[in-house]
């Protein structure tokens, strides 16, 4: 690992000043950044430890929403009573990710900035436009079983790895960003970018901005919600497909729906197309399946991941069926 300067920021203004240094990076839980530093994928000159900043609280918002500080640990958020009661899919999504030890360290802000686990991104000898723009994409024609079928481009097919962000995408979460220039808010669904021909630019965050909070709006439909994660082993694996879903039906007709997918797309994927199909439709297996097919209609498989299209459709259908028959789960 390269030698780097370390400083611990006592407050937000100090952190925002320090990030102006060349090659500076914020350090939260370190569960991803430090790994990448060990692999020489990240080589910061300065590491600004932000874990002492007062951004570690979950606060009530007027009207029933929550404001989650960027430094709230994943495990803390998953265990938070209000989260479990109002947004069970979020608690489930967090608990489906990583391991207990990692969740104890990982922060909410850091989770938003996780890097892909594409094998070619983390191997310095491979071509990867995300790591080294212009070097090509060795995942195309290589091991791409885990790659994206939605939102990919010729230059990048890497999936976004987060479980938590899938739930946040479904929940209309808003990311609060702060810099010396002020505070701005970006909806989670617009926070992560599609790769296009600049896969190295992954989010809307500017180089001098700090994530300070994630806001969850009041969303009554989310009280009955689920996160279903499908992976290659029972725990400690990234999603092949995941589904975050909240649904309300009255008299057999869907009156409210939130649906997002993980593991299949280059960013946390809000399933707008499926939501449009489902809203006002009868709450039946056929509707679920039709909506799932509509969402995946634009999917483009790579050589090894075509199964994800069928799997995603089945997972959407199964999750909505489960919501209908068993309700949400806390």
């Amino acid at each position: 690992m390269k030698d780097f300067a370390y400083l611990s920021a006592p407050d937000v203004p100090t952190a925002l000043q320090a990030i102006a240094r060349p090659g500076a990076r914020f350090l939260g839980g370190g569960t991803n950044l430090v790994d990448l530093m060990r692999q020489n994928i990240e080589r910061p000159d300065t590491v600004i430890d932000i874990t002492r900043l007062p951004l570690d609280r979950v606060e009530e918002l007027p009207g029933g929403g929550l404001r989650v500080g960027a430094l709230v640990r994943n495990s803390h958020l998953a265990a938070h009573r209000a989260v479990r009661e109002r947004y069970p899919m979020l608690a489930q999504a967090i608990l489906a990710g990583a391991s207990g030890q990692l969740r104890n360290m990982a922060t909410v802000g850091g989770n938003l900035l996780q890097r892909t686990r594409c094998a070619y991104f983390t191997d310095l000898s491979a071509g990867c436009n995300k790591r080294q723009p212009g070097s090509g994409c060795d995942a195309v024609g290589g091991f791409n079983r885990n790659a994206a079928v939605l939102g990919a481009s010729a230059s990048c097919v890497a999936t976004h790895p987060s479980d938590m962000c899938v739930a946040l995408a479904a929940l209309d979460a808003v990311v609060e960003l702060e810099s010396v220039r002020g505070v701005r808010r970006v909806p989670l669904t617009g926070f992560h970018r599609l790769p296009g021909d600049t896969p190295q630019v992954e989010t809307e965050i500017a180089a001098d901005e700090l994530i300070t909070a994630v806001e969850l709006p009041a969303l009554p439909v989310a009280a009955a919600s689920r996160y279903r994660k499908i992976r290659d082993r029972a725990s400690y694996a990234f999603a092949l497909v995941s589904v975050a879903a909240a649904m309300h039906a009255r008299d057999g007709v869907i009156t409210d729906i939130r649906l997002a997918l993980g593991g299949v797309a280059t960013r946390p994927w809000r399933a707008h197309q499926a939501e449009r199909e489902l809203l006002g439709a009868p709450a039946t297996e056929e509707s679920f399946r039709r909506a799932a097919e509509a969402e995946l209609a634009a999917a483009v498989p790579q050589s090894q991941n075509g199964f994800k299209i069928e799997l995603a459709q089945r997972a959407i259908t199964a999750t909505l069926r489960q919501l209908l028959t068993e309700g949400g789960a806390a």
């Binding site: 390269k2 060990r38 020489n40 191997d123 000898s125 499908i230 029972a234 694996a237």
Partner: protein, 730 residues
């Protein structure tokens, strides 16, 4: 008299391991210790055309950057000769850092030595290497059709035939001809390979996690051109190995080389990625299993062929078809193993090399035949259970496979099973059960042992064997305690040091039996000595052995089995070879068992979960009920990984391993493993020392077959390509 043998005695190293007192190879402190890190080649085959170490050398704390330009000379890897089994120990034939040639993607091309591991790693990253590519064949699937038949040698037969199986197959009323594939695997011991090397006065002390310290010693002596007595290898604790620490891989040699070049003690602990890049794993395979049967289910033809790979720079064949020579009484049988050479790192032994993947293909085929015939799979096996070895009519030393199935069927509740696929559903889960036979040949190697009995009532057993977690020292302490009539706590066992009488390597599930044979003989010698002493000592009649020594005024007496002199070693190896040959002429020896499992498959998504396991094994006499069961359980866990998740991803374009980490190479996690019930018959094999057959490997065999069969029962889908991932079940 047995007091301790068979009991669940706590492991003697348990406290040391759970309190951190056990010292592993990367934990030996030396004043002035330096740290090493490897630079790995990024091409499959080529020549180094440019090498720039300037930036690496500028990293503060860097002591040396060794490359082919400045590394000390190393003698070439020895040619394999049956006269010196240590010649088998070369991980590869590459002369590390003595050549500008690259023979596999990952080969070490430079070693950095620095004051800290961090500085060494950083400098290793900064070494710049450019290559001229040479043509390389790295794609097993593409090269596999060009495989050549494996030649037979003393240790392994490449093929055999009885009758005319192809004609019998063509004529059989019921016939199956199936193709299977298994991917490469890696051992993934929790302790990455680590070496601490220290030279003083031309002599080398090496702390190295190893499964055969004598091979390591002898190999290094050949490579560095020094007498083997000038090398001491210590390996008292090994954090798992599974075959991955049997051969001498580059890290061990390069640690010794770095220490020699810098005049400093050097520690080289491989990164997890470094283990994948420089230590071989299990070969991938393609297999054909064809079986013909009459309407009653009697097999008339059985054919099992395989293709596996070796590296062009090392590795060897794998006895994929071994169990097919022994399990079923088919009228005509053909087995043939084939090999293809690739420009990849040598393959190596990994838990039950051959049988682990061979039983998958064979046992899945037998299950398929049972369904084709409408016969229960256990009943079908019973109908084809041979009285003598089917290939050549030799006697079985101990054959209790039927008993294993019978006991297992009773305890698992097999009777009354509805064989219909997709017949059981529990909510969203399709439920299925499956069985398979487990089979692993049993071996025995020479061992030299000394036992010293002291007047204070303690005994010291000394033998350079290996403890990788299986409980070897505990088992030998139990055996010695029983033989000498001492409490087990009074017995100390020294192992893992080449200064000790030469012990066997830990391999072939043979170590416990091999040491036990010598230990029992040594204890008999010792008790004869003690009784002779008693006869000469007034008042000693009827006294305990320590009491005899006290009455005779002796501090201790010692007995030795085997000799470590050059002549003694030669005589020992000759005697061993003779016994091996005569044993093999007379008997077929093996551990076997019956694996029973239940799986659940999500009806929507194809996720497979193993929910029940029962393994019933014939492993002869069990020495330690706790450690034996634990080892058998561990093999099943590893088999579950092989069946459902494990696969080393080798990029067919570059020969590069693309999942060289425990987050992307999926071993089973706790949530993947159900409670595992272990039973053993505890019926001694009269042809083995103390009647014991090894327990290290048999339990991984049959696991993938049982799971594949249960998945079929649950879903109606036959998956013949491992691992059985959910995409194959959609």
């Amino acid at each position: 008299m047995t007091t301790y043998v068979g009991e669940a005695v706590d492991r003697v190293d348990g406290t040391a391991k759970t309190t951190g007192g056990a010292r592993f190879s990367a934990e030996y402190p030396y004043p002035d210790l330096a740290h090493a890190a490897l630079v790995h080649a990024t091409v499959a085959r080529g020549r180094i055309t440019r090498l720039d170490t300037t930036a690496a050398e500028a990293v503060p704390g860097v002591i040396a950057v060794l490359t082919h330009r400045n590394a000390p000379p190393l003698k070439p890897a020895p040619r394999v000769t049956p006269l010196n089994l240590a010649t088998l120990a070369s991980g590869t034939s590459v002369n590390y850092l003595n050549t500008d040639e690259v023979h596999w993607n990952g080969q070490p091309v430079a070693v950095v030595v620095a004051e800290s591991p961090e500085a060494a790693q950083e400098a290793a990253h900064l070494v710049e290497v450019a290559y001229a590519h040479l043509p390389a064949t790295v794609d097993f699937a593409a090269a596999e059709p060009d495989a050549k038949p494996q030649k037979s040698n003393l240790i392994m037969s490449g093929g055999a035939v009885k009758g005319d199986p192809e004609a019998a197959l063509a004529a059989a009323p019921v016939a199956l001809d199936l193709r299977y594939t298994t991917p490469p695997h890696h051992h993934n011991a929790i302790e990455p390979h680590a070496t601490t090397a220290h030279w003083a006065d031309g002599r080398l002390t090496l702390h190295d996690g190893a499964q055969n310290i004598y091979w390591t010693r002898d190999h290094l002596a050949m490579r560095f051109g020094i007498p083997k007595d000038d090398i001491r290898v210590l390996s008292p604790f090994v954090g798992g190995a599974f075959g991955g620490k049997t051969m001498v891989w580059p890290g061990t040699i390069l640690a010794a080389m770095a220490a020699k070049a810098t005049g400093r003690p050097v520690r080289l602990m491989l990164t997890r990625e470094g283990v994948y890049r420089t230590v071989g794993g299990r070969t991938p395979s393609t297999q054909r299993v064809a079986v013909g049967a009459d309407e009653s289910g009697r097999m008339t033809a059985l054919i099992h062929t395989s293709v596996t790979l070796t590296g062009r720079v090392g590795g060897g064949p794998e006895q994929v078809t071994s169990q097919t020579r022994h399990l079923y009484d088919a009228a005509a049988i053909r087995v043939q193993q084939n090999l293809v050479e690739l420009d990849v790192l040598s393959n190596t032994v990994m838990r039950a090399p051959g049988e682990s993947i061979g039983t998958f293909a064979l046992e899945a085929t037998v299950d398929e035949l049972a369904y084709r015939l409408g016969v229960d799979p256990i009943e079908l096996r019973a109908r084809n259970e041979p009285a003598r070895n089917p290939m050549d009519g030799k006697a079985f030393a101990h054959r209790k496979l039927r008993e294993c199935f019978e006991q297992g069927a009773k305890e698992f509740g097999w009777a009354g099973r509805n064989p219909e696929p997709r017949s059981t559903r529990d909510g969203r889960w399709l439920v299925g059960t499956g069985v398979a036979a487990a089979y692993h040949p049993s071996w025995q190697f020479p061992a030299n042992v000394t036992v010293r009995l002291s007047a204070d009532g303690t005994a010291l057993v000394r033998c350079g064997f290996h403890e990788m977690g299986m409980g070897g020292a505990t088992a030998q302490a139990q055996i010695a305690a029983d033989a000498l009539g001492l409490p087990v706590e009074a017995v100390t066992v020294e192992y893992g040091d080449t200064r000790l009488p030469t012990g066997p390597g830990a391999g072939g599930s043979a170590q416990t039996a091999s040491v036990a044979a010598a230990l029992v003989a040594a204890c008999e010698k010792l008790t004869r000595l003690a009784r002779a002493l008693a006869r000469r000592t007034p008042g000693a009649a009827g006294a305990s052995y320590p009491e005899i020594l006290r009455l005779a005024g002796r501090d201790s007496i010692e007995a030795r089995v085997g000799s470590d002199t050059r002549l003694g070693t030669a005589v020992g190896q000759l005697r061993f070879a003779g016994k091996l040959m005569s044993d093999r002429r007379r008997w077929v020896k093996a551990a076997c068992g019956a694996q029973f499992c239940e799986v659940r498959v999500d009806a929507d998504t194809g996720e497979v979960r193993v929910t029940r396991w029962l393994g019933v094994f014939d492993v002869g006499r069990v020495i330690n009920a706790k450690t034996a069961a634990s080892q058998l359980r561990g093999g099943i866990v590893m088999g579950i990984g092989m069946a459902l998740a494990e696969e080393t991803l080798v990029d067919p374009r570059t020969g590069r391993i693309m999942n060289a980490s425990l987050s992307e190479y999926h071993v089973p996690v706790h949530a993947d493993v159900p409670a595992i019930e272990i039973r053993y018959l505890d019926d001694p094999d009269p042809t083995m020392p103390l009647g014991l057959i090894g327990v290290g490997e048999v339990s991984i065999t049959g696991v993938a077959g049982a799971i594949a069969n249960a998945v079929f029962h649950a879903t109606g889908r036959r998956i013949r390509d491992l691992p059985i991932t959910l995409d194959k079940l959609l």
